[in-house]
Symmetry: C2
Subunit: 340 residues, 2 copies
């Protein structure tokens, strides 16, 4: 089967965004009445999925997508913890309903109620709620809740440890994923996302986080940012900094997805990283929605690029399914329970 | 001939750093006597170059290097304009002396005395001094003088226009190059450099800077950061944002260098960008100094990777020489005057 590990609910019914707008309006004007999550029907959710992610998943021959709230909509830069918690819960509740309506096609990954420099307890609580009550299989973790200001500590700092402890206990990985940029220097989709991927990889190379948390697992999306393209640079830097070789250190706990939107990029990714640390993904419907004139289909139809790789049957099975089941054991259990 | 357009004076005699240290100490304690640039002999400079950059240039079959002060040493985050000007002048003076001692092998590229949010007049003045008095052929321009805090405006903002006007008038390009990171999230060599390259490319895609300055030219180093690896993403984003196609817009004025330290990366760079917008470079002795076990020579021996590309004679000549002479017309004039 073909598992796409990176999809966001970018097509929520508009009522959900109106709830968010009301939340933010109340932060500006505390005299307003508290906002309440939108009353959205199953029919609305069905329509928003069947005409979008599910349609495209089917068209491209995919079977199942790991599904999380819209990344740019997480907006962790808004500093109020209660607002962040309410917003995460509402967003995750919707994703949960998608997974209930389409259990064969979607499994849940949660947004965390992070805030810049704020406590991580709410994030731990929301992770537990989503994993234990909803059967979610992973979370998205924002390495820069300040939204492009990068005012917090690196991912190797003990600030993050309570969350890592919960992830290890629950046996769920995190995808490293920033949200909207509030910094004019960084376009959200064209700079901030990729730069965060690159920055975090280097933080992990510098530190020894996996010495402390040997079973902690991170997925670095968007093909690892700039990292595979600069693979020689990272090998050389690791040696110069007297850090262990990448294969014996960072790459024991880190995986890249295939959200790279042209053949040459996917070819490089596979040539450099191989298949053991690659997870198939497209991030549709996401940042890039036009048509690639070379293929006549979407830029983000990454299955086409992966299909063009010279893969043996085993490699193909790992890349499309096996690695995902290994990195996300709760997904494996969920599929096994479905007889898949 | 083989021109390496990206080298820094990373091996200055230690007296130069001591001058810097004294400068910074005086900023902390204004009661100290003013620091004065180090008294460095020609012999010291000769030794620092002959045993390092010139030796490696010769070993690898290169002829000439565009040479600028050490990038991480520019330290534009130090906010005092007078200190920045003194430091830039001293650093550029040393580079000028290298070009005088080894006119066949080095041509000058200057550091600018930028400060976070500070006026650009000192940078314009220093650019003029280096180009008009020293015969320098380009400059390094830091898109983030705040050193990883990214507190300033994007490169398309009119803040930068006075410098662009001077660059256009003098007909010199700028290499986009940040300096040391003061942000623990961004390792200087493993994240900040690459992320700046990526961020600036996207700023240029979003804006219309070259509509205003049609002859302005930027070199984005380190193989363009993450950009060529995510070429499909940028094509797709340009279309989605209703910006012109890359080839008809950003890529009329932007060039990438070949500072990518493994064969797969250089292969991708050439496959995606072709040869017209590529400039040969190694940034030795720079970030990455170990030995690539695949080749048995330095990771940053980029000539090996370029030599392995399937290039015709014409393409090879453009990539190693012709493009550099076109993008840096003052280099072309300087070489022509030498009969080269």
């Amino acid at each position: 089967m073909i598992i796409d590990i990176h999809g966001h609910y970018t097509t929520t019914p508009p009522e959900h965004q109106r709830y968010r707008d009301a939340q933010l309006a109340r932060l500006d004007d505390p005299g307003r009445a508290p906002a309440a999550p939108a009353d959205i029907s199953d029919e609305q959710i069905r329509e928003s999925i069947e005409n979008n992610q599910l349609r495209v998943l089917r068209e491209r021959g995919g079977d199942l997508m790991l599904f999380s709230p819209k990344a740019s909509g997480m907006e962790h830069h808004v500093p109020d913890p209660a607002t962040a918690t309410d917003w995460s819960r509402a967003s995750n509740d919707l994703v949960h309903r998608v997974t209930q309506l389409f259990p064969d096609h979607f499994a849940g990954v949660c947004q965390l109620p992070q805030t810049p420099g704020g406590p991580l307890d709410p994030s731990v609580a929301e992770l537990r709620r989503c994993v234990e009550q909803f059967g979610f299989v992973g979370c998205n973790l924002n390495p820069d809740p300040s939204g492009g200001r990068w005012t917090g500590p690196p991912m190797t700092d003990e600030y993050w440890f309570p969350l890592y402890e919960a992830m290890v206990e629950l046996d769920v990985p995190a995808m490293i994923h920033v949200s909207s940029s509030c910094n004019d220097n960084f376009h959200t989709l064209g700079a901030h996302y990729l730069n965060a991927d690159t920055a975090v990889f280097m933080q992990l190379l510098q530190g020894d986080l996996f010495g402390r948390f040997p079973s902690l697992r991170f997925v670095i999306p968007h093909g690892g940012g700039a990292v595979p393209y600069h693979w020689g640079r990272y090998h050389g830097l690791a040696a110069r900094m007297e850090r262990p070789p990448l294969e014996e250190h960072v790459m024991r706990n880190v995986y890249f997805d295939t959200c790279v939107y042209h053949q040459a990029g996917i070819d490089l990714l596979h040539r450099v990283i191989g298949t053991d640390h690659l997870l198939f993904a497209s991030e549709m419907l996401g940042a890039v929605r036009g048509t690639n004139p070379e293929t006549g289909s979407g830029w983000d139809d990454t299955k086409r690029y992966v299909d063009a790789l010279p893969l043996g049957e085993d490699e193909r099975a790992r890349l499309f399914e096996g690695n995902a089941r290994r990195v996300y054991p709760r997904l494996d259990a969920l599929l096994a329970a479905q007889g898949r």
